[in-house]
């Protein structure tokens, strides 16, 4: 049986009909049409599906959509800056060459956002520890760590949201 619910995704309220068993990742991709968020392993191990829920990084592939009513969901599309420019974290990923095939990138960026919102100047160890739930099978981790560090520097200069 479908239930009509409202989901706040990137500040826009989406009215969607969901079954209790519908996963947030599928609703984001198929019903809200936001395909930036990727579905990787489907069992909470790879981090490709990471979105922010009330500012905290969570795994949308093991999250029920119906449980997200009244919460603020942020996906990679929600990071876009005024005038359509890239968010400083995205820009840092581009500048540092931290994107290879790109499949893990949206999850990586959302995890980095969750981390930098909590710790504006993370150490290398903190970056590794807090982003270990995002797997890059191109294995370009060094550049990703550099990108997060570069984003942290911009962050402190601009105080970007």
């Amino acid at each position: 049986m479908k239930t009509l619910i409202e989901l706040d995704i990137n500040g826009r309220v989406h009215e969607v009909a969901v079954d209790a068993r519908d996963l947030l990742i599928d609703v984001i991709r198929k019903k809200a049409g936001l395909t930036g968020t990727k579905k990787g392993c489907g069992e909470g191990d790879c981090g490709a599906c990471t979105v922010l829920i009330d500012g905290k990084p969570e795994l949308s592939c093991i999250k029920l959509a119906i449980a997200c009513q009244g919460k603020k969901i942020t996906t990679i599309e929600g990071l876009v800056q005024e005038g359509g420019t890239l968010h400083p974290i995205q820009q840092a990923f581009v500048d540092k060459g931290a994107v290879q095939c790109g499949f893990c990138t949206p999850g990586m960026v959302m995890s980095a956002k969750g981390l930098l919102d909590r710790i504006p100047h993370p150490s290398e160890h903190e970056i590794k520890h807090e982003m270990s739930g995002n797997i890059c099978r191109c294995t370009g981790y060094k550049k990703i760590i550099e990108a997060v560090q570069a984003a942290a520097d911009v962050w402190s200069e601009q105080g970007v949201e």
Partner: protein, 293 residues
């Protein structure tokens, strides 16, 4: 991978929750973080008819940690909150550290302390330090409330001392004694997103002389169907001042008590070796910490 159909309930109060738990019984599962539950539902290992989502119940969340009064932690407190809590880091560093080593950042923001115990996996991280710290669980139902030591609550693999209609609502930790310390350590094949091969926590309280062991608790995880509380190590070390020789003996005693199995994560033989290594390391570190060194 999709989930089988189920009916979803989102109670707002403890009373509503207990009503549902009582009414729906074993056909229902409680949804807290879902990081274990949804995985087993996706694999169709279980197909509950009802899910009771307790994330809307404020009373089940939060950490109350006041000086001199121990701590009370709600069942649905997220592991990330425990990892980051300054109060818990100061008073119960073993618990905060263990919570911060579970899964990934995402998992820790979703998963709850109660779930980590109620999942009753022998390899769970937080039950080990909780048992070492003397944590008690509060089990509530419509007909009343009871309290159990955590190590008596977890009976075995996926087995709890939990009657139908009952649910775990909070953990109560006693105030650490003066001249005491508790530490946690683990070993896995790698650091990230790994489930422990062996984990262990040691809690030592010293006599007022600051050297003689007044009481000691050593708890092992992942080497027994439930958190294994050592009987032999306290028998060897209580009333003693720690020496290299005693550490060696105690670590061997712990090794003898552990009953590990071979599985995907490690062999029994390796686990037995690691029990000794972790016991040596933790006994020394915890003793030093209790001495205030």
């Amino acid at each position: 991978m999709f989930l089988n159909h189920f009916e979803y309930f989102a109670p707002k109060t403890p009373a509503e929750t207990l009503e549902l738990v009582s009414h729906l019984g074993s056909k229902a599962k409680i949804l807290a973080g879902g990081t274990d539950l949804l995985i087993v539902m996706k694999s169709k290992a279980i197909s509950p008819e009802y899910l009771i989502d307790i994330n809307g119940v404020e009373e089940f969340k939060g950490i109350l940690c006041e000086p001199g009064k121990g701590a009370v932690i709600g069942t649905n407190t997220k592991l990330a909150e425990i990892q980051y809590s300054e109060e818990l880091k100061a008073k119960y560093p073993a618990l905060a550290y263990a919570a911060g080593e579970v899964g990934s950042s995402q998992v820790r923001h979703m998963a709850s302390l109660g779930g980590n115990s109620c999942n009753a996996s022998p390899a769970a991280e937080t039950p080990t330090p909780l048992a070492a710290l003397g944590a008690k669980v509060t089990l509530e139902s419509l007909s009343g409330t009871r309290e159990l030591a955590l190590e008596d609550f977890i009976l075995g693999v996926r087995k709890l001392d939990l009657a139908e209609g009952e649910m775990l609502t909070k953990f109560t930790l006693p105030e650490p004694a003066a001249k005491s310390a508790c530490r946690y350590a683990y070993m896995g094949r790698r650091d990230a997103m790994e489930i422990d091969s062996v984990n262990m926590a040691v809690n030592i309280e010293l006599e007022p002389d600051g050297e003689t062991i007044k009481s000691l608790k050593l708890v092992m995880g992942s080497v027994y169907p439930r958190p294994l509380v050592s009987k032999e190590v306290p028998a060897l070390l209580t009333g003693q001042k720690l020496s290299a020789e005693l550490v060696e003996k105690a670590a061997e005693a712990a090794q003898g008590e552990a009953k590990p199995i071979d599985d995907i994560r490690a062999s029994a033989e390796y686990r037995r070796e690691i029990v000794k290594v972790l016991a040596q390391r933790l006994l020394n570190d915890t003793y030093q910490a209790a001495k205030g060194v």
